[in-house]
Amino acid sequence: MSGQLHGGDSFRRFGRRLQGLTGREFWRSLDELAGSPEFLEALHREFPTHSGYWDAAFSRRDFLRLMGASLALGGLAACGKPAGRILPYAEDPEGMTQGAPLYFSTTLPRAGFARGAVVKSAMGRPVKVEGNPRHPASLGGTDVFMQADILGLYDPDRSQTVLEQGRISTWGAYRAALSRALEAEAAARGAGLRLLTGSVTSPFLGQAIAEVLRRYPQARWHRFEPVSRETVYAGHALAFGRRLDRRFDLSQADVVVGLDCDLFFEEPGSLVYARQFAGRRKPQERMLRAYAAEPSPTLFGSRADHRLPAAASLLPALAYSLARRCGLPVPAVDTPQSCEPWLSSAAADLRRCRGRGLLVAGSLQPPQVHALAAWLNEALGNAERAVIYLEPPEASDSAAPLSELVEEASQGRVQTLLVLDANPVYGLPAADAAAALGKIPFAAHLGLYQDETARLCRWHVPRAHALESWGDALAFDGTASLLQPLIAPLYNGRTDFEFLGPAIGRLDASHDELRRFWSGRGLSAQDAWDDALRRGVVAATAFPAQAPSARRERLEKLPPPEAAAAELEAVLRPDLRLWDGRYANSGWLQEFPDPVTRLTWDNAAWLAPSTARRLGVENEDVLEISAGGRAVQAPVWIVPGQAPGVVGLTMGGGRSAGGRVAHGSGYWGESLRPASEARLLGPVQARKTEASLRLAGVQGHQLMEGRPLVRFATLSHYRKDPLFAKGERPGPTETLYGPLPQGGYAWGMSIDLNACVACGACVVACFAENNSPVVGKEEVLREREMHWIRIDRYYAGSPDAPAILSQPVPCMHCEDAPCELVCPVGATVHSDEGLNEMVYNRCVGTRYCSNNCPYKVRRFNFFDFADRQEEAYKLMRNPDVSVRSRGVMEKCTYCVQRIQEARLAADKQNRLIGDGDIQTACQQACPAQAIVFGDKADPRSRVAKLKASPLDYGLLDDLGTRPRTTYLARVDDPNPSLPEGA
């Protein structure tokens, strides 16, 4: 990225542009950059896509008929209220106050790895997930998946009954059938018995599986995890001779070089890395400098000071080149000239920061790159500081790959197969698990959904959700934590342990077995067990750091990487919204805009602008991509910053049996994945088809006309001009309002753009907290998405390698709010404490407020978007927030229900609300602590101190709205020695 072009003087230039001069700095989409007529037209339409919606022939007759029907139905609805009932307990549970929520610690694993959570239970119904500050993999933060687990729990599409060959059966019948199958296996010492799981870190389940393998010595355990860490382990086996895992401590690093490694998303410690990174990006202190070379933009790459779009197949060469420049005796490799500035700068910084640097490689890279990274980190003295090695927390580390299972099954050597929450039929069609499953007489599947694999197994058993189960899991650093159920299984689900029970002759409930298991591991005393449950971690169980030494002689003999020859290659990465597809039936996540593409509901094939030009395709054209005899048709999305010659594919789309929400969204990227489970797909062919697919991108929605919204400078510029973020034009001081009331609290928010990694946890947390409805793809296309907080994404610089900036935008709670002036019915009013309030019962839906809002943060219920029919969703909703109905405007309330809760608690104790008593949902979810909320009138509060920072600025503050939500401008730290354009 170019330091000069969008250095701190960008604002001056912006100001000039506003005065009629040209010079575009920040842009949100390629259309905007090009200033295309469609874009300008869309920008200036008053009702972007709403007009014309009713143009469809709608006769007077239809109108009268509908009105008649509504009147008749309206009359029915008015026929008396049913008498309400109150059902108190017969025997009240211990420790519960009726009407008051309780909070329980538990664990929500992703791909096996634990992340600690504290779940709010409203009268027995889990309604909100927060991070557990005591858990080492959460530190209080969450990600989108943890937030969406609440919706996943209540999902009415979840499998609800035991099935045998698609017909309803019973748990008893399954157990009897399994016992019969196992009797036959016992005679053969389990020669035909196989287990298939995803990544398993659970010591409890690991021991149960070990017990199965002990009883049936010939049985085997296979693992299929779509986003596995196998390359990391294998790489360390190359480097150290031991399969080891690694974790990072970014607080110890001054420079981080990432080779296609999304530290903030893919890594099991992603939440912690985001926190550590944010802690090291304070321009007042010594900053961490980040380099990234990657084929597709990632969350980490978007925050890197120097981001190099590079084909995945080129990265091994870059790793070799870096290693050589840092003095390792590796063969010289050719790298393109365009990579030279990035390479020399990264290598110089790594050499300069000996012992305080870090080279990380992503799991998509081959083991060789991981080995080299380990060696380099050791040579530079970074090991045991910024990178820590540990035994893999996965119990499934010893399991055999899926391919062996398929091979044996197709030879008829597998009689009994137990599948625990794995979906190879969808996740790896190239392995042809579908055909193999047909040859297994007794295949039983345990899963949350009756998914693609379940449909081909003889038996299917519904799985208990993590929030319904007893269990345990290990975090990325090996710390153990327990899962405790927040609710009895809603849909008769069974835990993994119960599913395996008959195979090890133990039919006790999971709780008793888990208790017994941990009794032998330091939790024998009731107090210790209770404490582990309450805290959400088992104390002092983190794995000790290993101190392996690199085997130089072997590493020196590693063959150098072959030159990247493919004209077009593809990479397959977990979707930022759906992971590997296991979250595909979550409406919250489907509608959560991808942080990079800002697309909802569909995944797309990401192409660099130059590649798209070469292939002759534009956005939404459908491209047929084929590799190794397999093909997939995917809509194109042109992504600035994507490496040329690389098609970025994501997982999780095109589910054929994923549920009603997942159905029909996206393409099946996994269908191109080779049976070797590689996610770098190598050379592919792409052909433009005649078809096109409308994609529901929200990037162009809620535009604010190219004003200086996101403010940004380099560190050197910031040091010269610390006040660069302050606007040139002060806002007008005269106001139409009376004086603001003095005294009392003044709520305000500060959002630190230096901390934000754009993961989107705030967006989904807001959805969960505020009962926001999902509207569906059609309505998103009409710009009717209902997010109260959105993450705007801006680019600066050339479309091939732009700087990528993100900005969360909730309601600004302007002190002089334009929306309030225009409401004819007083439905939006100002409180004494500075909240811009929305009174739903007064709102008649004129939408004037939304039109007059310069920030475009108001959302209108064009239809009755909230699903009031589905019983399961009634349980899910936050009882402290109204469910809005049709015709009502809504927007961010600063989580007023949390303010009120804190106010009542303080009032009852006759004290003032303390700083930090109130956390908004977005603030609490943020892993990087980018959002701070509090009383801005109290000079000792955190938010007041942040607002006093020189970096503080208000969005569009020249309009005189005096927003209560302000931002801390972003300061990046590019290498000053790097020439412009690198």
Binding site: L87, V881, S882
Partner: protein
């Protein structure tokens, strides 16, 4: 041709319009009054309950505190209904065979809840919190009527739970009976009569009449 309408037609039409408007206003007024009658509000009408529980007997007769059964009134938004176990603390000893307590005994045996009929109900867009009202010295009777005199339970006349009734107190908390000390706390510690009390109370009232205090 003669005029179709005599000059008086103007007056008649005007009078008709005025009468129409008057009738409309009257209709609205009647509807408003009727809606507030006990016929609609059900105030003063005893609900049928599975057990004919008498607050009069338990409160006035036996002197049991409200909070003995409604335990969470001081701590939670919901005042709470007693679990069957609370009834059985006494009724496992007294009136053990009474026919009218059959439902209570059945509940204690089976663990099934007693299905009480709701007496007072607020719309779900009102976020009422019992605890703060009780802690601020608002007596139960202020809203629920003289429950201690109710042999069967009904909505405390004359309180139909209209927003107006909530606002009466939220606008003028000082007019409603409560302990002086509580009133002092309400106005940030200024005892009534002192300088600053009125201002502090006014500030508090501004907060109390904020929309988000009850709706969100």
């Amino acid at each position: 041709m003669a005029q179709l309408f005599p000059p008086s037609s103007n007056s008649i039409v005007k009078a008709a319009f005025a009468a129409g408007a008057l009738v409309l206003c009257l209709a609205v007024w009647v509807a408003y009054r009727v809606e507030r009658t006990t016929y609609f509000t059900k105030a003063g009408v005893a609900c049928e309950q599975p057990v004919p529980f008498s607050h009069k007997h338990h409160v006035s007769g036996l002197g049991i505190d409200c909070r003995y059964c409604h335990v969470s009134a001081e701590d939670s938004s919901f005042a709470g209904l007693p679990p069957t176990r609370t009834c059985m603390t006494c009724h496992s000893q007294v009136w053990t065979q009474a026919q009218m307590l059959a439902a209570v005994r059945r509940s204690a045996e089976t663990g099934q809840a007693i299905a009480w009929t709701r007496v007072d109900r607020l719309p779900d867009y009102v976020y009422f919190d019992h605890s703060i009202h009780v802690r601020k010295g608002v007596a139960c009777q202020t809203c629920h009527g003289r429950v201690q005199r109710m042999p069967l339970t009904w909505r405390g006349y004359p309180f139909p739970f209209h927003m107006k009734d909530c606002l009466a107190c939220h606008r003028h908390p000082e007019r409603f009976p409560r302990e002086d000390a509580e009133l002092a706390r309400l106005s940030r510690g200024f005892p009534p009569g002192e300088r600053g009390h009125a201002a502090a109370l006014a500030e508090h009232v501004r907060l109390l009449t904020d929309c988000y205090t009850c709706h969100r």
